[in-house]
Symmetry: C2
Subunit: 672 residues, 2 copies
């Protein structure tokens, strides 16, 4: 019996009971594996229990019925309750583990749309850690960590996103008063998007073009108070507000911010790296690469968040598919569970597999980063470009794949997946935003492409290649052998990545001869270059997923190893079939191989089918975090759909006022 | 100067002015072509002007800030105003053209989320036309057409969607009172989803299992009054309400409906086809196929709606991309318009082309249907299966493609595309719903697959094939020749459709020998079967688009013909590149062909680039219908974004009440 069953009073759906009875592995053991060990699970559950058992968090009306403003106010209220609980827990245990981003991300699902001060912990505090001098840290960190001040991170502007050098906000140093003058010279220079900036934060990090003594030194970070600590009124010279409703993140309180010659002390420039001295002298940063860590960290977090959102989508879709019955292929039979349809398995099992793939790839990227930074401190910089290329394409591909698969899961739940109460709309709103923020999808793929083009050139020149692009040498030497097995598929994807890079490089070369200009030629082949990056990333994820499963599973029970290997193989075969054309073009796969792969895929779906509910139970997502009528642990799908509908304010009165006001006059007029 | 420029007082963005100046064709001529002639454009514009120039329709607060209930009430108000205007216009002109579904669909964009009585005109009235006897029509049509009653169409239930035979609602005939007793025996039998059912409609068509004299005769339609005409109170025995918020269609007022032994007169069964006599005798319908027309009509409408939503998405994305500048490939140059990036052109030009492709394919399907029904009345039934197969896969593929391309356009607008004020969230909410309603995507593809499997068998047997599957014979005779031109690509896609059908049939045959059961084998290969259907559909759209452009362009100016051919070729080459792997597997394309196609694609993007803004201007979508800060005709993107944000109720007061209530206590507590 699992934890969740103990808590739920209601009867569990019969189909789900049957599914759980036939699971072939120990669900708890898989949960431990997912959490990185039993202690990980215990710690997470302790924090979740603490927060989620708080009665104060229950909504009177579901948030989807509220106005935009009510929704924000409700989110502030709930966030304050949660943060209080977490802080007390942290003080009791002298550990700030409860503040762990991964835990926060899960728990804030209770607010449904995100906590308005998500960026306080997610960006404001890390930036002070990463970019403030020791004295500045001593001043700001205690206040920030204990939430005496609430901050956010203001970088993007109305007219400027991914291209940071284009930012227009200026910070001009005035040596006579030892102050910086912040100014927004145009409408497009207004800060736009920072979460919590609207009505919540009273401080923020502002990224602005630094001017001193008539020179511009490019963008630098400043810590700026924007609202009065006591009254919360915007300070003179500050124009601040929220930017309005969006596809998702309704309660993030994303804001805008403009400065009218707003003065801040010199000490408000974050000076761990570059500095401006009292007389206005600019002192350059010793190492531009030092701020690299935060960026990689955030991209790893996005990959991990994608894994979490996929686990939510998979849990909802699999449980619903076990409860829902439809059609009658044979006259004298009951309608089967829709989970028995192979097309349905095709849509939802890949979500389970992908969640594991991304979680493990995220950890692997983080380990790689840690290794590279250790080498960095020894003065070795040569692995940085590869790390950068990996972080870019993994963020891009994982966010885009996750968005697409979340929608696939929603659509697999038919009309009911379209209901807000399924929670799919919120999950999609959250995951699709990650395709754009922290580096736009195509821009990031083209960053990776710069690396691939360079690597291809080096491979042709016979240089020693770093590990993730060593396969290019194989391709040049025509050493690729297809194999109808996981290792073979990984090699196949590597051949695709190499072949596409070669094709793009050839085209680039040709365009260069006609167009003369390298950037014009680059632009012409950019669609091909982006595809090559995606293929490279696909090869990485496939290789990492397969090898990490082999590495991790040594200490796990055999029954669990079997099912994890099935998931990893499913992932690889799924993508081999999806990209069969590319494999045909660039690897040595044959048509017969493809027929065999298709059979193997159908076989794997069959292996996973009896364990499907156990696999999503192992994600161990409490109903309060899942927030779904279709996916709750007890499977009371139809009862919950109706219960949620009955909460609609429109259903609290038999006749809505619009009848007398508008409908009746219209109907009566028609009679005349 | 266009119509829209006359109306807008504000200055038009300089970039857009430049783009419009360099358009190579007459934008108005393209608009006429889209509307099916100048009269079509004039008629549409007349109705749009009439409705959109009504000041009453302006919202005090943008609807995205409202609560669910306020939004509904606002939509009822606006819908009543619109319907009144349209009705008066119809009476003045003795023509109900303004009620044309295509016009209604465009105009209701003013309500942003859809009119609560969309299903009155869309399903209630057509069902009375199609399924009521002449006496019933005489009784109900005048009331329905003049909106003395407001109706909807209640078919799907909480537990039953696509599989209609599974519906649970019963209509049991009681000969003693000459009444039917409607009853909802279970929670899952509650009607669920009908638009307008919640609080708006007072009548509806109910589809229920007909029982008479102890026999069940399957599902039949009944016309049922559910609310009192004067008070709008639900009648005794009726439980009705709305189902709650969704991903989109927030104001559709989708409802639920349960019956507790609710009695209606015998005459409320729609009796054009089957009948129940006074004594309870059931009289069978003479022709089951007679109800076929409504279904094809609705699927054609979905294809056409997809074309419209694509034109909205394309208009927004192209105009925004012309106004937005980003990055600096060269140091001493201005940031270029993002429309100059080939990756951006790749994302948005396909939206323009696909809108034309779907509009023309929708008309073609309608013409095909008309031809088939003419033959039907001559007793020829043999083309019905092909028509059914076409309607199924076209509805499925067009809805799914449109959803994907709308999202592609949104993502191409970066963070701002995520704003509700861009209108992308609403457009996506509307278009993605069509993937599910009126026949779920995969279910429909598998319907088409049944036809393809049968056709393949007949082709092998050497039978005479109908026109859209004649290509199977070519494939069997290995007669396919690849050609790097539109006709060649069409033939290539036909080879793919044939090859995939063959592969699925081979697999089906193999599974049958091991699994014994045909339906089990069918299930195992259903993923492959669905892919074959999609390929077949792709071949159809490509062929129809290309040939319709050739046929239509004879009377158009050369400059317009050129650009239309470029769009059609772009569509074909785009998909050839997307599906290059499939073409490799089943057609005779070579690697060198692919390189040439890629070059041709890049060339076509370059041809379309200078006409991009002109092409979307030609869709002639007024700002009130586009509803987008990013896509307005004048290109005042940043001004509009800020203006919309300033309307936020949260921005009407400098400090929100949640500061004193929650944030300040949290911050102060932290100090202790």
């Amino acid at each position: 019996m699992t934890r969740q069953m103990n808590m739920s009073g209601a009867r569990v759906n019969e189909d789900l009971l049957r599914e759980r009875a036939r699971c072939s592995f120990d669900v708890n053991k898989l949960t431990y594996f997912i959490d990185g060990g039993k202690e990980g699970t215990d710690g997470r559950r302790e924090v979740e229990d603490l927060v989620l058992n708080t009665k104060l968090l229950e909504d009177i009306v579901p948030v989807d019925y509220m106005s935009h403003k009510e929704r924000y106010e409700n989110a502030v209220k709930k966030s304050c309750i949660i943060v209080n609980i977490l802080k007390e827990h942290a003080l009791r245990h002298s550990s700030f583990d409860a503040y762990k981003p991964s835990n926060m991300y899960r728990i804030q699902s209770v607010v449904k749309d995100v906590m308005p001060f998500m960026l306080h912990m997610g960006m404001f505090v890390p930036t002070i850690f990463g970019q403030a001098s020791p004295e500045q840290q001593a001043e700001w960190l205690p206040k920030a960590l204990s939430l005496q001040i609430i901050g956010t991170y203001a970088q993007t502007e109305l007219g400027h996103g991914t291209f940071l050098r284009g930012l227009e906000t200026t910070a001009t140093y005035d040596p006579s008063t030892e102050e910086f003058v912040l100014h927004s010279p145009t409408l497009t220079s207004y800060k736009w998007w920072p979460g919590g900036l609207g009505q919540t934060a009273n401080h923020c990090i502002v990224v602005a073009q630094l001017h001193s003594l008539g020179e511009c030194y490019g963008i630098h970070p400043f810590i700026v108070q924007i609202r009065d600590s006591e009254t919360h009124m915007p300070l003179p010279g500050i124009k601040v507000g929220e930017i309005g409703p969006k596809l998702g993140f309704q309660t993030a309180n994303n804001g805008f911010l403009g400065f009218d010659h707003y003065r801040i002390p010199r000490q408000c420039m974050l000076m761990k790296n570059a500095q401006v001295l009292k007389d206005g002298t600019y002192v350059k940063s010793r190492n531009e690469k030092l701020t690299y860590g935060t960026m990689v960290l955030i991209r790893v977090m996005i990959v991990t968040d994608a894994a979490f959102e996929l686990s939510r989508a998979a849990t909802i879709a699999v449980r619903y598919s076990a409860v829902r019955h439809q059609s009658k292929p044979r006259p004298n039979q009951e309608e089967p569970q829709i989970l028995d349809y192979v097309t349905q398995q095709h849509k939802v099992f890949i979500a389970i597999a992908t969640s594991h793939a991304f979680r493990l790839t995220g950890s692997w990227l983080w380990d790689t980063y840690s290794k590279v930074t250790r080498d960095l401190s020894d003065g070795k910089l040569d692995q940085l470009p590869e790390l950068h290329a990996l972080a870019c394409c993994l963020k891009a591909v994982c966010s885009a794949d996750a968005s697409q698969i979340v929608e696939q899961c929603r659509l697999a739940c038919g009309g009911h997946g379209y209901m807000a109460s399924s929670n799919f709309p919120t999950i999609y709103g959250a995951i699709t935003a990650t395709v754009t923020y922290e580096g736009e999808y195509t821009v990031l793929l083209l960053q990776t492409a710069r690396y691939l083009v360079k690597a291809w050139k080096e491979a042709l020149e016979g240089k020693v290649m770093t590990s993730t692009v060593a396969f290019m040498v194989n391709y040049i030497q025509d050493n690729n052998v297809w194999g109808n097995n996981p290792q073979g598929i990984v090699k196949g994807f590597q051949a695709v990545a190499a072949g596409m890079t070669k094709a793009a490089c050839d085209a680039l070369h040709q365009y260069q001869t006609t167009l003369k200009d390298y950037e014009d030629a680059w632009n012409m082949v950019s669609v091909q270059l982006a595809k090559a990056s995606e293929a490279y990333c696909r090869a990485i994820i496939c290789e990492v997923f397969w090898s990490e499963i082999q590495r991790h599973t040594r200490n796990l029970p055999t029954s669990l190893v079997t099912v994890l290997q099935q998931l990893a193989e499913l992932y690889l075969v799924y993508w081999a079939l999806e990209k069969s054309g590319d494999l045909f073009l660039y690897s040595k796969i044959t048509k017969q191989d493809l027929v065999l792969l298709q059979r193997r895929y159908e076989e794997l779906l069959g292996f996973i089918r009896p364990n499907a509910v156990g696999l999503v139970d192992a994600f161990d997502i409490r109903d309060e975090i899942l927030q779904s009528t279709l996916g709750a642990y007890d499977g009371r799908v139809y009862e919950r759909l109706m219960e949620e509908a009955m909460k609609s304010p429109l259903n609290q009165e038999p006749v809505n006022q619009s009848f007398e006001k508008y409908l009746k006059p219209l109907m009566n007029k028609s009679k005349l």
